[in-house]
């Protein structure tokens, strides 16, 4: 049987030291910032290329209907919206002032952040899906005038089937998985938040 004082003694006598030294840490600190910057740079480049490609299509292809232009505009807006939100959330998580808050407030912030991400990945994805469907429908008006009927019908069938698969298989699976993960995290955060209450 040990008393707390003996446990304290045991703690004072142990010799476990951190394995991270200052130079390694500095390398990581600078590296992680560079890696983060590089990640967003490449995301911006990818979206930028996609937008340029769409602009080039608008410039080089002479569309006969205004609906094609409207469809492309909607796709560009979706891409930019996604990028801006990713950027905002990442910045909010990485450089948050909330880091200096008391644990209780920090946990409240984390919960709100998780819920916002959940909404972004589920509800906003549904809105995104509707926007893309609308954009393709508008674009299809152009195809209707340009493509042979059979090719046009095949295109429409392909798009409809792809959307149904995305909506009823991929999206449902993703939402189920994401919700389970978020619920587990929120349950954990709530349990920990209760521990820090006065």
């Amino acid at each position: 049987m040990k008393a707390f004082e003996e446990i304290q003694q045991l703690w004072n006598n142990r010799q476990d030291e951190p394995k991270v030294d200052f130079d390694e840490l500095m390398k990581c600190a600078k590296g992680s910032r560079k890696a983060l910057a590089a990640k967003f740079m490449w995301q911006c480049v990818a979206v930028g290329v996609a937008v340029l490609l769409l602009v080039a299509i608008v410039a080089w292809v002479d569309f006969v209907t205004w609906t094609a232009y409207a469809g492309i505009l909607i796709i560009v807006a979706c891409l930019v919206y996604y990028l801006v939100n990713q950027w905002k959330d990442f910045r909010s998580m990485e450089r948050s002032e909330k880091l200096f808050a008391a644990p209780q407030q920090y946990i409240t912030y984390l919960k709100a952040f998780q819920q916002r991400r959940n909404r972004f990945n589920t509800y906003n994805y549904a809105v995104y899906e509707v926007c893309v469907a609308l954009a393709l429908a508008l674009y299809a008006v152009e195809f209707f005038y340009r493509l042979p009927t059979l090719v046009f019908a095949a295109f429409v069938c392909f798009v409809v089937v792809w959307f149904l698969i995305c909506h009823f298989v991929f999206m449902k699976r993703y939402i189920r998985h994401e919700n389970a993960r978020i619920e587990a995290m929120i349950a954990d955060l709530q349990r920990i938040a209760r521990q820090f209450e006065e």
């Binding site: 703690w11 394995k19 600190a29 644990p103 984390l110």
Partner: protein, 165 residues
């Protein structure tokens, strides 16, 4: 080395061991403790210019460490105590001396406390002043004293129970 880097080196040397102990107490595993300590100091480095001197530098760093530990569950599923204990035992498999076994048992016992209890007791064992622990955890000193009394009792009980197995 510029002025900020020199300041950061000093901050790191003065606080790294305690932050490591806090992270070790929270996770019960040396590798995760090293990762969390590294993450904490990266955040300290990135936010050094935001330190307003309203509290001590060590209090500010501890808060970042506590919050980093708490958000750890975003990245890794909280391990079941048994799994954690196996890992702790694994760390001491090379001809463990009696003292090493006792230390492993101590970490195993800390891992069986609740998250906030692990954080508080680690700071108590590291002899951080009560006023500072209260400030870090955002609770009053009176409340903290009551909690510490309870946690000490609980840890002693768990340790003795584990020792008798």
């Amino acid at each position: 080395m510029d002025k900020q880097q020199l300041l950061f080196r000093q901050v790191f040397e003065e606080n790294s061991r305690r932050v490591y102990h806090l992270c070790y107490g929270y996770t019960g595993d040396a590798d995760s403790a090293n990762d969390l300590m590294q993450e904490t100091f990266i955040k300290v480095w990135q936010n050094l210019d935001k330190f307003r001197q309203q509290s001590q530098m060590s209090t500010w760093i501890y808060r970042i460490a506590v919050n980093t530990c708490l958000s750890h569950l975003r990245k890794a599923k909280r391990r079941a105590t048994d799994e954690l204990n196996d890992h702790i035992v694994e760390n001491y498999t090379e001809e463990p001396s009696e003292k090493q076994e006792q230390i492993a048992l101590l970490y195993k016992s800390i891992a069986q406390l609740e998250e906030n209890e692990r954080i508080i007791i680690t700071m108590v064992l590291d002899e951080v002043p009560y006023a500072e622990i209260a400030e870090i955890n955002g609770i009053s000193e009176g409340n903290l004293r009551v909690r510490i009394h309870r946690i000490k009792h609980k840890l002693t009980e768990i340790y003795n129970r584990n020792e008798s197995i």
